[in-house]
């Protein structure tokens, strides 16, 4: 038998709250933290980060400790501090990160569709722009937040060991951060667009993986047949890898600047448009 309050106290003041897009993003984050996938991915990414940092420390030991003189030549050829090495800082997370984006981002819109929560959101002072901004923001912030320590910690460690006069580029983060941002927004837009096509989170995950792997395979096949590297601009996996290379000035990037810009703009435009169309208030059923 429920116990009811004698009455409801006077209402609190409205209009003191945070912007709706921020509230939605915070709630999506709370949802993610409730899920158990965070533990596995957290462990996996931490391991990779430790490996990166460890490599730098070993490199330092090889350079400074005479005991390791015999392997120094080998180390020089493997553990360079040039553009390739810096661009590669973000690379190991690539496939695993896409998988995480698919797992989390695939359900972002689809879960709201399944539980029919979106119409209720629009019944509040939330406009479609807020909703889309929240979903794109969260889906993009997730890979960005994971990539951030990969960009910063090895760089900090290198600076500490080598000093500013050493082979480490002091300006590396200025080059890596925009590249990370572009790659993350690309991942986020694709995940949200694919998720908006699905009716359940599982289907959303399938859509993201299907689109990423499907376009990737197709682009690789056309590349193999024609020898034209520019077609890889359609491949979101390659695009996400290419941006750090382009910003770091790698000699032979996976995709040149212009195709990379066009390919990224195409993906961002297409998937944002798809998500916007699929989450319009008139599409809601109440």
């Amino acid at each position: 038998m429920p116990i009811y309050a004698p009455t409801l106290p006077p209402p609190p003041d409205l209009h003191q709250g945070q912007p709706p897009a921020l509230v939605l993003m915070r709630f999506d984050l709370a949802r993610l933290l409730r899920q158990k996938i965070g533990r596995f991915f957290g462990f996996a990414f931490l391991l990779m980060l430790l490996w990166k940092v460890g490599r730098i420390y070993v490199d330092h030991l090889l350079q400074t400790n005479q005991t390791f003189r015999p392997v120094q030549d080998f180390a020089r050829s493997v553990l360079t501090q040039g553009a390739d090495f810096q661009a590669d800082l973000l690379n190991p997370a690539g496939y695993l990160l896409w998988f995480l984006v698919a797992l989390v981002g695939g359900g972002l819109v689809a879960r709201d569709t399944l539980y029919r929560v979106r119409p209720l959101m629009y019944a509040h002072p939330v406009v479609p722009r807020d909703y889309l901004l929240a979903k794109l923001g969260f889906a993009s912030a997730l890979p960005f937040a994971i990539l951030l320590p990969f960009a910063l910690l090895p760089w900090l460690m290198s600076l500490m060991l080598a000093g500013t006069g050493g082979p480490v580029w002091v300006t590396t983060p200025l080059r890596l951060l925009p590249a990370m941002a572009l790659s993350s927004v690309l991942m986020g837009a694709l995940a949200v667009g694919a998720s908006s096509l699905a009716g359940t989170p599982r289907a959303g995950i399938g859509w993201v993986l299907g689109l990423v792997l499907g376009t990737g395979t197709l682009a690789s096949m056309v590349h193999g047949l024609t020898g034209n590297a520019s077609v890889q601009a359609c491949n979101p996996i390659v695009l996400a890898e290419a941006w750090p290379q382009l910003f770091m000035g790698v000699e032979r990037p996976l995709v040149p600047w212009l195709p990379a810009i066009l390919g990224t703009a195409f993906h961002l435009g297409l998937w944002t448009y798809v998500a916007a169309r699929r989450t319009r208030p008139s599409e809601t059923v109440i």
């Binding site: 429920p2 409205l14 945070q18 939330v126 008139s282």
Partner: protein
């Protein structure tokens, strides 16, 4: 039609002379409102003209009548394609719609619950989305969940809740920001008689204690009859009837069933029709709608006609009969033109 000073015309009051509807601060007012889903589509709502005062409004109609479309339009999710309207004084289809929604609570018919979150988490979330500061939303979530009787279970994920508890979570999220108006879409769906009674008690409390206007869409006429003080009957995107429940009840009370000792002859039957509308006649029983006629006139008529009246029974129609008659376009619907 009754022209009103503010330009809003009142239609379909059952008895506007007896129970005039006050229009000083209309909860909702429409004039020739038309809503289409797309520019090329046929109108889902057409020519709605209506004004309702603050209170509990029952919205009745069969499936596809346009109830949900009307709620969408009220929430500002579908801009009007014709006519005009206001909700709580805010014009529909304007930039103020988003702000207006901060003053409206909506309890959907279906389970719009986030299954892996607790009642407390989601009610606080909806509060924040309505404009409450995070801390205020959390405090308010506790208060409102206690108000709807979910104090004990508020930290459990809603996936383990019974249907009655889920309905109360939905009501709590509609109330968390203390709206001026709430839309309740089938609030007693799936509830047992006891749960249904408790939910309707809560609806009455919401209006009485919080001074919140309520629009209750339901196909359960008993629910509407119990809590509503105004009624709107929709069908095929049009208002078939609307008015106050008190006026409706008064109108219904003017039906009587007459039993005569001997069957009436043709002349007597013709004379009886002069008293009101004979709705049904069988085996000496006559179902008579008196309209504005004085019930005492029946006895005078019987004496004048030499008919022996053995029984006069006031007929109280059930609301479902009224609904059916309104939908099928006979007497009650005809009163729209009052």
């Amino acid at each position: 039609m009754v022209p009103k000073p503010n330009g809003v015309r009142l239609v379909a009051a059952f008895d506007p002379e007896i129970e005039p509807i006050r229009l000083e601060t209309p909860l909702i007012a429409f004039e020739n409102l038309e809503v289409r889903y797309t520019a090329m589509a046929a109108p889902a709502l057409k020519g709605l003209t209506l004004s309702l005062e603050r209170g509990i409004v029952g919205l009745l109609g069969p499936n596809g009548a346009g109830k949900s479309t009307l709620l969408k339009a009220l929430l500002g999710l579908l801009p009007p394609s014709g006519g005009s309207g206001t909700v709580l004084g805010v014009p529909l289809g304007t930039a103020g719609s988003a702000r207006l929604r901060a003053r409206i609570g909506y309890m959907p018919e279906y389970d719009a619950l986030i299954e892996d979150a607790s009642a407390y988490e989601q009610v606080a979330f909806w509060g924040e989305l309505s404009g409450l500061a995070p801390e205020a939303a959390r405090d308010r979530a506790h208060e409102v969940l206690y108000f709807v009787g979910l104090d004990e279970s508020r930290y459990r994920p809603v996936s383990g809740y019974s249907t009655g508890m889920r309905q109360r979570v939905k009501l709590a999220q509609a109330l968390v920001h203390s709206p001026d108006l709430i839309f309740l879409d089938e609030p007693t769906n799936g509830l047992d008689p006891d749960g249904r009674r408790r939910m309707l008690d809560l609806v009455l409390r919401v209006h009485a204690e919080l001074d919140t206007g309520v629009i209750l869409a339901s196909h359960l006429l008993g629910d509407v009859e119990r809590v509503a003080d105004q009624l709107v009957i929709l069908d095929q995107g049009q208002i078939k009837a609307a008015g106050s429940m008190a006026g409706l009840r008064r109108a219904l009370a003017k039906r009587v069933e007459l039993r005569f000792l001997d069957p009436l002859d043709g002349a007597q039957e013709a004379a009886l029709a002069g008293l009101g509308t004979v709705l049904e006649a069988r085996n000496g029983l006559y179902d008579l709608e008196l309209g504005e006629a004085d019930p005492a006139g029946i006895f005078r008529w019987a004496e004048a006609q030499g008919a022996t009246l053995v029984q006069v029974t006031p007929r109280h129609d059930r609301l479902d009969e009224v609904l059916l008659r309104a939908l099928h376009g006979d007497a009650v619907a005809a009163r729209e033109e009052c």
